[in-house]
């Protein structure tokens, strides 16, 4: 029984951009450090602060955070960055995880407005991530990161990543000024279906003006800008005909927890009723959709409302934030929220189908 952690992260470092080639090197992200404080750094790209830079915490700071929130997020910067694979694999063993599907960090936000810059950064990331995963004894699988501003390049990046074992494509609920239902993305969906790769929709927002506006004064800066968008994106997809156009395409919705799911489904059902349309019996399964749970979700309610075939679990390994919980699988297994059979589905069977592993 091989468990699959459906949502973990690599944290990019300057080493990542050493994978840029030729003239692309001129476009590499650099670190802006105005306060001489690793917790307040930002990525500087094309003359702007861009992308997502997570604070680098010292181990004692991470430990203090863990003690405060009663969760485990502790790992080294080297393990987060994929430089210390030994530690990462050992921690997977320790926390009951056999495989990790790994998502990027910088791309949670828009990295560039110019296609040339985005293309270069995405290629560097994919080469870097592929290099790490190729050395992981098959236990790390990275989600391909695509330059959405240039679809032909994006398709090339998908094919490259597929050759390196990538099971999914990293996608944000809002790409640059486009929703996931936009026909602009149909070539990507078509190619993903052809290559048997899933769409890994992860919290994020690649529409810079919108994300900045929603983060400007909000005390919990990212709820509206990158998290609540997930509920909107899933609602939009449910309302769309994407599942009819691409019937084998699979979607995973990651790091947004699942508390919003009954809201989205019930609101959508009410629309169907108003339109005189039948209510699907199991809409997520019928549409090849899976949602990542978090340990504080009301699992009994979610399983009753939505069923047990559409949930996966992610630990958010690599980040130190609200979602991160390295021992989530152990807590789920050893707790009394779900049955042994449900645990198996959530951690083994469902993610295996989602990622075609």
């Amino acid at each position: 029984m091989a468990t699959i952690d459906a949502d973990t992260h690599f944290v990019e470092s300057l080493r990542t951009w050493e994978y840029m080639e030729g003239d692309d090197k001129k476009l590499r992200p650099v670190i802006l450090d105005p306060f001489k404080d690793p917790k307040k750094q930002a990525w500087y790209i094309d003359g702007q602060v861009r992308g997502n830079k997570v604070p680098a915490l010292e181990l004692k700071e991470q430990q203090a955070f863990d003690d405060t929130v009663d969760r485990t997020t502790l790992t080294s910067e080297e393990a987060k960055q994929g430089a210390d694979l030994g530690t990462r694999l050992r921690q997977m063993d320790e926390y009951g995880v056999d495989f990790q599907v790994v998502y990027p960090t910088i791309f949670l936000m828009q990295v560039a407005e110019r296609p040339a810059t985005e293309v270069a950064i995405c290629w560097a990331y994919n080469r870097w991530a592929a290099d790490i995963c190729d050395r992981s004894e098959g236990r790390l699988k990275y989600a391909a990161t695509l330059s959405m501003l240039s679809i032909p390049d994006a398709l090339d990046q998908m094919r490259f990543s597929k050759q390196h074992g990538s099971p999914a494509i990293f996608f944000r609920p809002i790409e640059v000024n486009r929703l996931p239902t936009d026909p602009y993305f149909y070539p990507i969906y078509e190619e993903a279906a052809r290559l048997n790769m899933s769409i890994g929709m992860h919290i994020g927002n690649a529409t810079g003006w919108m994300a900045n506006m929603l983060q400007q004064s909000n005390i919990v800066r990212n709820f509206w800008s990158i998290k609540a968008c997930m509920a909107g994106a899933v609602h939009a997809l449910l309302n769309s005909d994407i599942h009819e156009r691409f019937p084998t395409l699979r979607f995973g919705f990651l790091e947004a927890t699942a508390g919003w799911l009954p809201y989205v489904l019930r609101e959508w059902y009410s629309r169907l009723e108003d339109e005189g349309k039948p209510r699907p019996e199991n809409p997520l399964v019928e549409r090849n959709m899976w949602v990542a749970l978090q340990s504080n979700d009301d699992m009994a309610y979610l399983l009753k409302e939505v069923g047990e075939d559409c949930f996966v679990m992610g630990t958010d390994y690599g980040h130190n934030d609200t979602q991160a919980e390295l021992d989530a699988f152990l807590r789920l297994r050893d707790g009394d929220a779900i049955t042994e059979e449900q645990y198996r589905k959530i951690t083994v069977d469902n993610p295996k189908v989602l990622y075609a592993l």
């Binding site: 809002i174 929703l179 936009d182 506006m213 004064s217 509206w224 509920a231 809201y263």
Partner: protein
């Protein structure tokens, strides 16, 4: 065996007036030139720059009432909805409305505007007189209802001095709350810009009523593209986010007498930010076991699609309200769902009575 009854008179905490050309007959160009926004922009002889293109007019590009839009100062703005529904020729007609309310067992209905679900202008001197015109129209309708219709006062958020005057006028003329959208232009509700509104509302005992909507045109446009069910992401997710703002910001503590309600999106959307909030708390935080709705004076309306029994379990029964959305819909869904929850034993008679009567009285400050 416990007997239950849904015959209790109800207060409908969220229904709508739907603006028509008649609304703008209350638009008074000459008096509006006295607005503080206008005075600041066009002092002395330069005053009176307004002309009738700033009065909302119906744009009907397709010759189809369902595709009508408001056209204001050269822009398509505001939320335009039909003022008729199947079987209801004019939702603003008082006799029709009161008759419908009586049939449903509703004694009092609180009415919200429609046009202000979206931004009507990004210029204060245009926004101010539109708000005044609506206020004058709504106050007149409600005054003729012999107390059965109460109205929520929109404010011109782009000119705070005018907004404060509108709140005071509203208080004196039967308004029972102050309307805000979840976002205004590029301003979120936790910004200090809105604090004078919160302060005045608290002083006058009027709640802040945040209705599903989105007064950021760029965001509304983006979220409406290739999205057949766009209003969910445009308007309702915005309510989820605005609730998160009041849950996590210091506003409820900074204005301790302030009551804040979330309308038009149902209650189920609150579960997500509540889970996030709980996750962020220290493991030993005393807030872990508290009801944040109570501690922060936050209230929410139930929708027909909510799992009502579960909402009562998660949010408690003291801060839930009934909102029919009459005017935008035929108003029956939420009431039917609530009565079914009572009949099915999902909620008790006591909880039912709280939701339809005691809670809205407390929220809106109804004393009689």
């Amino acid at each position: 065996m416990t007997t239950t009854s849904s015959a209790t008179l109800a207060i409908d905490a969220d229904a709508h007036l739907v603006e028509t050309a008649e609304t703008w007959e209350h638009y008074d160009l000459s008096s509006m030139r006295q607005s503080k926004a206008e005075q600041a922009l066009f002092p002395g002889d330069l005053g009176g720059q307004l002309d009738n293109t700033v009065i909302p007019a119906v744009a009907d590009p397709y010759g189809d009432p369902s595709g009508e839009r408001w056209f204001i100062a050269g822009m398509v703005r505001g939320k335009r909805m039909p003022s008729s529904l199947p079987g209801i020729p004019n939702v603003n007609d008082i006799e029709t409305r009161l008759s419908w309310m009586s049939q449903q067992g509703i004694s009092v209905q609180v009415v919200y505007p429609t046009i202000f679900m979206e931004q009507v202008s990004n210029r204060p001197h245009i926004e101010v007189p539109i708000v005044w015109a609506y206020i004058s129209w709504a106050a007149q309708i409600c005054k003729a209802s012999e107390g059965r219709l109460r109205w929520i006062c929109p404010v011109s958020v782009l000119s705070i001095p005018d907004a404060l005057e509108q709140i005071r006028f509203g208080k004196e003329n039967g308004a029972c709350g102050v309307l805000l959208a979840p976002i205004h232009g590029d301003m979120l509700l936790e910004e200090a810009h809105f604090f004078p509104i919160y302060e005045e509302a608290a002083r006058l005992g009027m709640p802040i009523c945040i209705h599903a909507g989105n007064a950021n045109p760029a965001m509304t446009e983006l979220l409406g593209q290739d999205n057949p069910g766009a209003s969910f992401w445009q308007y309702k997710i915005s309510i989820t986010a605005a609730f998160q703002t009041f849950l996590t910001s210091g506003i409820p503590h900074q204005f301790p007498g302030l009551r804040t309600g979330f309308f038009g999106a149902g209650a189920q959307g609150l579960i997500y930010p509540l889970g996030e909030w709980s996750r962020r708390l220290r493991a030993d935080s005393p807030e872990k076991d508290s009801n944040p709705m109570e501690g922060r004076n936050l209230w929410v309306t139930l929708a027909g699609h909510d799992d009502i029994g579960y909402m009562v379990k998660r949010l408690g029964s003291d801060h839930l309200l009934l909102g029919t959305e009459f005017g935008h819909t035929n108003g029956e869904s939420a009431l039917r769902a609530l009565r079914k929850a009572l009949a099915d034993g999902e909620i008790t008679q006591e909880t039912y009575e709280k939701i339809v009567w005691h809670n809205p009285r407390a929220f809106y400050g109804f004393e009689d």
